[in-house]
Structure formats: C-alpha cells, structure tokens
Symmetry: D2
Subunit: 363 residues, 4 copies
C-alpha cells in the first residue's frame, strides 16, 4: 500500500525497474483537456539518461503510451493510465548480488519489509526509474496549471558544495535547459560539471540542491491544519528517491534570523496585497499568499559508486564487500530536476482542484 | 477540510485560540491501553507558557478532559475525544486590528481563503495553541510506542545561530527538561537564553532548530513509494506553525558530501544487520532500517514582535502600521519541542499499526 | 478506526451511550453559513424519545452545544465540533448483564472485536443514541443543500407489514410531522400505531421501511466507478443501527420487471432533459440524472424486547436466559426517520461540494 | 475521481469498453502470494459472454496480463497492474447514436457530468466490461481469503420473478457452474432460461437477484460506526452496473417480522459462541459475528433491448426514437455473478487485512 497520492487529483504508481513496465494512473483529471502522447513524452524525455558527464548509459526509448482516459484528443474525466515499457534490461549484476544490500539503497529495507519477495532487480520499486511515472502525472498537472497561467520551474542550485548565483526569473527560464545540469547559472554549471567528472573518475558521486518555484499561485491554496501546502508538497517531494531535506522560503536559515528580518511586510501593488520580501516562500499558515511558492530539496549523492563498499550477505549473515559494476550517474541531481517539477505541479494541481480553481470540466 | 491526519491512527483537530476550546479526536487507538487524564495532562503541560525568558504570560490552566473512548481506565477501541477549555482570553487587541494582517502570521491568507469569516482572534485556527491538541494525540501515541520500547526524544539544537554541541543519548534524555530551552547542551542553552533576552529587549524574536530522534524503531516501517516514512513525518511536522524546513539524517549537508562519505556501510551486530554510521537518519527508500530515526525541523522566529511593522488595512486597502501589544514568546522553539515529539510519535504510531506491530487489542 | 465519513464534507463521530457525551466533528463546511445551536437543536429534537406508543422513556434534555467552527453566527471554514452531554443514565442493568450478549445487538461482536474493553453500557458506541451526532452533521448538510434549493424528505412507508399508500410530495411534506410515526399516510399510521401497541403488549417489537427522497438534485453528482451515488448513500445509511437493506428507485422489484418496463424514457420538459418515469430513483451509472433521488431502507425490529431470550454467558461460556428490563422502543422506525434524512443530506452535501456546486466560501 | 476502492487493499480501476484496454491496479496485496496470469484468467473467463440463451455474442479473447507486482511467481508487495486488451470492437452504432442517450444507461448522466467529453463508445467507463477489472482484483482477494479458509460463493436466486429453491451449501457449490445461469436450483434454472428466451424473442430483457455468502469469516471484521461491514460491502456492490438494491440476512423482510422472530439467539457450539439462526446475515453492529455473511443484490433488467424506445437528441434537443441493434444479454444476472463474488471478496479481504488476519508478508 502507499502507492496513491493526492485527494482529488490522484496518482497511483506501478511498475518496477526491471519488470515489464513503469506507469501511473491519474484519477481526477478534469474532462476536456487536450492531451496527446507527445505532451507526456516531452516531459519524460527530460529525465532520460543523457550523454553528459552526469549521466548513466542505459539507452531506453521510453515511448509513453496512454492506455485510457483520452478520447478524440481530449481527456474524458476517466482515469488516465500511462506507461513506458522496459527495454535494454540486464539483471545479471543484481541477481549476482541479490543478498548483498547496496549501502544507501533500499535493498536491505525492502528485503526486510517484504520478506525477500521484493523484485530487487535494478532496485525494483525503489529505482529512480519509477519517477518516470511521477513525471507523466506531472505533465498533466502542468498542462492543467497552465490553463490558469500557473508556471512551475525547477533548477539545480548546488552540487558538490558549488553554489549557483541567484538569477532573475527570465534568466532561469532561459538557462535551465541550456546546460546538462539544469542550472540557471552557466558559470557555476561549468564548475559543477568538473566536480562531477572528478568524483566519477574517483569512483565516487556528488549530491546537491534543487530549487523549485511556482508563479501565479493564487492566494488561498492549502487546507490547514494538517493538509498544509508545505506538508503536502514535502510529502510529495520526499517520494523522490535520494531527497533527504525540504525547506520553504528562507528554510533552515530561519535559525539565524530575527523576526523583524524574517517577517515579510505587506503592501499594496496594482490593487493586490503582496509582501515586500518572500522569506516565507509564498506560504503563510499552510496557505498560499499569492507570492511565488519557493521550495528547495536536498538530493543525496548517488549511492551507487564504483568504489568497493562494506556490506553484509543477508543470506549467510556475514560481512561482504560489494563492487558495483557498470556506469551510474555520478550525480543524480540534474535528472531529478524534472521530477521535482512534476511533484510540485502534481501537488499544486490537487490543491487548485480542491479550491475549485480548476473546474471538473474544461470548456 | 484537511483537519484529519493519519491512516489507521487518525487525529482530527478542532478548536480555536479564543473560541470555547481546543481539542482533538483520536480514532484507531487499540483497545486496552491504560489511559487517564493525567497521561495527557503531563504532555500538554510541557507546552504551557512558562515564566522563563522565552515564554508568554498567558496563564492557562489547561485541564485536559477526556470526553470519550475510555472506560474503566482503559481505551475501548472507540474514538477518543479530548480537549482543554479556553480561559483567560482577551480578544480586544485582535478586534482592534481585525483588518491589519500581522506579517509572518496567517491573518492575510486565512482572511482570503475563508472570505473574512475566519475566527481571527488570537490567530484562531492558526494559533500555536492548536498544537495542544496535537500534543494530546501524541501522548497516546507515545504510550502505544512505549509498549514496543520505542522512545521519541526531541530537543533544541540551535537558536539564533547558537548551536548546541552533540550529546550522548543518556545526556540528552537527562538534560532536555533540565533547562527552559529543552536543549541537551546546558552551556549552549545559557547562551541561547541570553540571545533570546537580547532579542526580546529589542522588541524582536529568534528562530531555531529542533532535532527529534526515535529509538528502537524496527526495520520495515513506511509504505513507499508515496507514503514514505520521510514524507509522512514531514507532512505531520509541517502542520506545526512556524516550521519551514524538515531534514533527515545528514539532511541538507548531503549537498557537500560524496557518496562514499554519505553511504552508511552495513555490518552485523548482535545478530542484526545495522549500519556503521547513520547519515540516512534511519530511513532507506522511505522505510525504516532499524537505526534511530533522526529528523531536524527549522522553526522560524516568532512573527509577533513588539517593533512596529508595515502592513496593510485589508478593509480600506491602504498601507498601515501595526503595533503588536502584550508579551509574546521571543522564541517559540522550546515550546515547539513537545509538539515535535508529538507529531513524530503520532506518525510513527500510525506506521507501526499499519505494519501490525501494534495490534488492534492490547492484552 | 472507521469513525470518519465523507471526502470533502467529513463527519467524525465520537461518544458513547452512557459515557460523558455524544458528538461529532464536521470538517469541510464552507465558511459563511449562518449557524446557531438552535439550527442543530431542531433536528436533534426530532430523534428524541417521545411519549407516544413507539418510544422509550429516557428523558434527556440533549442540549446541543457547538464547541468550535462558528464565530459571529457564521461558520468559519474550521472544523465544527458539536455534542450533547449525557444525563439520566442508569447503567445498572448493563453492568448486571455485562457478559450476556443481547440477541440482535452488537454486544457479542463488540466484546469479541475489542477484547472486552468496549464500553458496553447502553450499547456504548452501538447505541442508537450515537445517531444524535449523525443528525447534528445532517442539520448542517441540510442547511447547505437548502442554499441550492435541494430538499431532503424521509418518512415511514411500512411498519409491521402495514404499508402506507403513496402520497403526493405536498401531502408528504405536510403529514410527516403530523403523526408519531412520521408516516405520510395518516390512515396507515393509525394501523401501524395499533400494531406497535399490540407488539409492545406482547413484549415484542416491529420493523419497517423508511423512504427518503431528495428534490432538485442537479444532474451530475456521483463519482463512478466506485464512488457512485448509490454506493456512498448506501454506506452512509448502513451506519444507522438496525438498517439491513437499501434500495434505489424500483429496487428489489427489478427482479420481476422487464427492461421495457423498468427503463425510464427520456423527454424534454421546460428545456431540460428529464425521464417520464423514475424507476431508476434518479441515478444512472452512479450519477444523478436530475430526477428526485429515491431510496428506501429496511429497519429491523428493535432487538430489545421484554420477552425472555436465549443467550450465552460469555464469561462462564454457558447457556443463559436474558431478561431485558425497562421500557424500549417497540418500533424504532419513526425515530430513525430523521437519521435517514441526516445521512442522505450528509452524503449529498459531500457530492455537491465535490462537484463544485457548493463553494468553499458562501457570500 | 472516485476510481479507487478500499483502505489497505486498494483497487484502482481504469480503461474503457472501446478504448485500448480494461484494467486495474491492486495496491496492498501482501508479499509472498503465489500468483500467475492463469489465476486471474480463470475468474475473468467466468464473466465472458457465453453461447447460452442469456449472453451477448462479442467474441473476446480477453487474455489477462499482469504488468507489475509479481516476480518469480509470487507477489512482491508492490502494486499489481493487470489488464485485458480490447479487441473485436465495432463502435459504429455508438457513433451513430452519440447524442441519443439509451434509457436505463449512463449515456445522459456521463454526457452531462463530463461535458460531452466522455468516451461514450460501448458505454465507455459505464460498460459492464469495466467489471473485468473488478474480477481481476477479486481473484487476488479470493486467493488471500483462501489462505484463511474463507470461501465466497455467489449464485442466482431469482430471475424474471422465478425464484430458486434454497439449497444446502454443498449443492450450491456443486450446481453454480453446472448451468448457464449460475443458479443452485437446476429446476428453477430451466424455467429462468425459458423466461429469458421469451423476453429476448420479444425484444425485451429480465432482471433478477443474486445471493452471495462468505463462510469462515471470523468474528470481528468491520470498523463501525461508519466503516461497517454492511456499508463497505454495499458500496462495493453498488459499483456493479445494474445493481439497485443490497440487503443483508433477512433484509427487507424485516419490515414484516417481530423482534422475537428476527433476533438470532446465541448458543455455544464446539466451544464457540454462535447463533441458532442467521437472520442478521452474519453481521451485528457492522461487525462480523462468525456466522456466514449473507448478502443479496438486485440486478435490473438489461437496459439494452431491441424494442424501439423513446429518447431525446441531446444535440438538437428534440424527441427521438432509439433502436438498439445487435445482440445484447437479455439477462445480465448470470454474468454479474462472478462480479458479485469479486466485490464481496475484495471488501472482505480489505477488512481482514485491517484486522491483521492476513499479514503484510506471507511465509
């Protein structure tokens, strides 16, 4: 259980890394949205392994197929099942190491929780590949939000300790897809790439931070006290493998700030109440305040490294040394960027439907 | 909507700061747990305003009353409704400033979302006082977890940029209630107190960081891919007003770490598979791995400060200056500590029931 | 668990028959609805034991108290907690018969499920008195539906084999509260009363059928394939103790009908598409079709009868004879009528909010 | 929305009658259950159109494919996606009559609710074919229940006013698949067949009643006050197209019974507390009492009849005559029998998992 997310715009995930497919069922998409395979394909392609310094070499075609919920080029109000079939799968390494849990991976916890029945090949349900389904759902969410001019951006702001300089929104929008790291600061991206290449050469990996921003979010989204905008966004973002932290607005830096510094003063601009600063990241009391919603997520270094690692043999219950073969992303951050976008969009879309901003039928 | 949390151990919150009461209904508590008003009272008292440097002066008796679900000193399996009646309430300041939203508070977003019908007195549903209900539910959760020797601790680790030194578990356990700041490092607590006093004198406030740890969590809790342990803990923690960040294990510092450094090697200890380090905070793939679950939450500086602040008059739609009278916590962090404990315990209890570790009837 | 109902208009029930109180938390009521204790009181009074032939003699004042969610005479968008305090409670008979489960009651199943920890006094959670909370929630739902001119009626159509004659809506509306049995056919009501009196004299009880109709339901409510209008209405109605059957439109009589007879032909009336007959009870494919929604529920004879009954002693595990003392409703049907109305209204209100017909804020 | 059912054993339905496929995702199936395509196929085949008097002629192969959640012949604890691809689909008649809603079908309500964007071909989401997915989920549920020796039977008890004689369980088990009507009384089945043939000849159709019984249900399943066994079973059963009534035990006949007659006396048998009769259908207070759970569902006559029918043209908003071509089931009852079994099993399985009777991992 635990594979469905959202209240009125609900995503149900299925599939395994080395099984037949990876997919998702989206329930609650309003009827009347123009939707074609290509709309989904475009987003899924973004998380495809590239050829750059940061990427693995699994060559997948990943052709998205919409199996239900679309007729005559429009959504029908029925559940939308979408999937990609798995190809190019070599499970031999996983079969060999079946009882050697990889440090930093879910091999041990999945083995324990599911009594050894879990499909461990390629990490099974815990593979980053599962997020292809997240991105499919996110692609629909983004189209829906777009109808209300809501825009979601995400980009790399730190890798291996190298921080990007803050950029204007226009620059961000322009630069994100301009470099392999999806970083809005091309100069920092250069240095990040070097650091990743260095780590890879040494059989190691790097982590980083992704920032995501949603623009044109109307004030009033969020359902406190428990279904806060922060809470549901965080829950969605922690579903992404490797995410270990989520913060909003000034985030953890609030620990060093004073109230007079951190409070955002209200003012009136073009007849609307806005804040002069946005330390709160667009959310007050768990409800959007009309300012951009700003979130940052911490992504841990890829646990798959080529250096030898100490582990145990779960079958023989003895110490063991694990050597992970093959190429793996030395830094997963850039490929996680479209997934962060997707989770952000999916959650905001659910709240927008709850608030009646996106109606049941689009005309 | 949005006032219920949890799947099998469900908490429904109700009440307002200046209404008749603040309370909670807990549904899903197993039958047969010994439970008395005092069990709840003890926990609720911890978040009561003290007389120390960091606290407000609202003198509330806050006598907890259990209204249902307990018979003959034991839980019955029926929903447990608990509440504290509100007393000592002076709403005059709030009535005067009804249309002047306080920066950093939910006044503006609540006004917008609920069309001005929200009970704004004392912050209404968005008051820290609502967390008294969270703590009531948490008190039951802690008793249930205790049956399985699961222990949840929380303590202040940073205030106003002053960091506590890491301490051993025994010291933490001993020191938490030994100082007004619930900090495991008494020396740091002294400095934090001075900083808070300084801020208060200047009409300002401070934020900080709380760490919470759960011990003896068995491997296997968590329901990925969406109902991860991280995700549901984060959602619960973001329900606490003023929380702006949540991180697990090495958290945001993963951005500066290498995989070889951040991965926790497996080893065998006393016949159990454990990790040598705990950078992952006891969670792999959204599932507990048997190590302590370690979480940190960022708490923003109290938005209520006595310095004048710029705001708007929502009725006249013009600029205004807000002067907040009365005493307010110059630092909410120590009072948030028992609430963090409560949300941690509540969420872990839900997962423990889902996993069948805590049965439907206790004998 | 299992004490919350509804997706966007959520009712959480709490309390016991002989505990401190019986109540409910309603989450998801739009802000801005004028609401006073009396609005709730009026409905709750309808299920109060009367002095007529069919009623018990427990004299309760049952003053409804709204504890939260209302400010300045309007709902605030926050959860509404309401309750009645228990009075006039004599538990001696229940204590004496603690281990003798009453046939037809939940004593045995509750004892088994909750390991004997259940509050058995007066039936505890399984008492008809719990439905006072259902009626409180229903009172709010009816007010909300009334804003859209949706009207819910319920009335007795059969007791002890005596069937009421069908009546016009105006007559129904007029007659329901005109007799002790809430029957739209006064002549039948006379005979029913005699039958009840006869059963009571013989230490026995009678069952019956209640019909409920909702008018002005717009076409389009219901969320198939699982959250059908029939399915969610039935689930809500089966929460009423003693209900053993639910049918829509021509119901079980479909087993004797032909398709040509049972199908409702479409036609156009005043520019709207309507059906000439309403065998389907206003629901097609789980979605309202704009015609009146017609439901009937079967209510079993009161299980509490004064005749001696065979049972077992659950403690000694031996046969026993049970003699139930005191006065009990010889027919619960008329007191169940307002509860049926409440469950119907509560469920329809939830669907109306889901469909966006009732907005988040009422202006 | 509304396409997911169940709390811990969750079924998400997708697909359309004339789309690419019909399928389901089952989340919450314990790990370690042996499962092969054939296990599902066997059940799905039962609802395949036959060649008998009562069936349509659509020749579908309906090969079930399990797409996820199974590895090495066992369930893994991951979501199980299953589907059948659609074949042999001629949509021409539906395209021709796109704006002529068929009486008794969901054409009008779906058109209204989804703004005309619904896939109307073959009834789309409202086709009986969707229940193939229900049966797939039910097949898994039955296997899980079987591990606890819980058995679910369903059989036709009435068609077109012809009632079957009650039979012993052994006879029922033996006779169900012995005739085209899945009726335990072969003599009645003969007459039913004749009646169906007669109706078909006259261009008409018949309804009926299906009874379903679950044996070896332990006492204690059900989560009152809202998640009662009756309520959740009824909700699941009303998801089956054409079901218009659900009753438990003595059902609607309670209206003619006295309490002394309808109450089931308790007694002790082989050391267990049982009831002498089973008028309550195995459920007291919404909780199973250990006796067989007995439910009956009313199935309306197939709305598709070859007789001309009056309807409207939704586009031109004028009266119209509808002539439905092709062969249709003159009585859907026998094909609904395996679907009733499936919904019964699915719901009971969910409750059994909630009660901890079926564990998270099967060893």
């Amino acid at each position: 259980m635990g594979n469905s997310l959202g209240k009125l715009f609900t995503t149900t995930s299925f599939g395994e890394s080395h099984g037949r497919c990876v997919g998702v069922v989206v329930d609650g998409c309003p009827a009347g949205l123009p939707l074609a395979d290509e709309d989904i394909q475009r987003e899924v392609d973004k998380r495809r392994p590239g050829t750059g310094a940061s990427s693995t070499s699994r060559s997948e075609e990943d052709r998205v197929e919409i199996l239900s919920g679309v007729y005559n080029g429009h959504t029908t109000g029925a559940p939308i099942c979408m999937l990609v079939w798995n190809q190019d799968v070599d499970s031999s390494q996983y079969l060999k190491n079946q009882f050697l849990p990889r440090p930093g991976h879910a091999d041990f916890t999945a083995f324990t929780k599911y009594g050894g029945f879990n499909d461990f090949r390629g990490g099974g349900r815990f593979s980053g590949r599962i997020t292809a389904g997240f991105v499919m759902a996110g692609a629909i969410a983004r189209k829906l939000l777009g109808l209300k001019r809501i825009e979601v951006l995400a980009y790399t702001v730190e890798i291996g300790g190298i921080k990007a300089q803050p950029k204007q929104t226009d620059e961000i929008r322009e630069n994100i897809e301009g470099n392999a790291l999806r970083c809005a600061d091309p100069a920092a991206a250069e240095k990040m790439l070097e650091a990743i290449e260095r780590a890879r050469t040494e059989g190691d990996s790097l982590g980083g931070i992704i920032e995501t921003v949603a623009f044109n979010i109307p004030a009033g989204l969020g359902e406190p006290v428990y279904d806060t905008l922060e809470g549901d966004l965080a829950k969605a973002l922690f579903a992404i493998p490797a995410v270990k932290g989520v913060e909003f607005g000034s985030g953890f830096s609030v620990a060093t700030k004073r109230g007079s510094e951190n409070n955002d003063s209200f003012t009136i601009k073009n007849g609307d109440i806005v804040t002069l600063t946005n330390n709160t990241g667009g959310i007050l009391g768990g409800i959007s305040n009309g300012m951009p919603v700003v979130v940052r997520v911490a992504v841990k270094p890829t646990p798959s490294i080529s250096k030898d690692q100490s582990t145990v043999d779960m079958d023989k219950m003895e110490s063991a040394t694990l050597s992970i073969e093959g190429r793996h992303d030395a830094c997963i951050v850039p490929r996680a960027v479209p997934v962060v976008t997707a989770m952000m969009a999916t959650t905001l879309c659910d709240f927008a439907i709850r608030a009646g901003i996106i109606p049941e039928v689009l005309k």
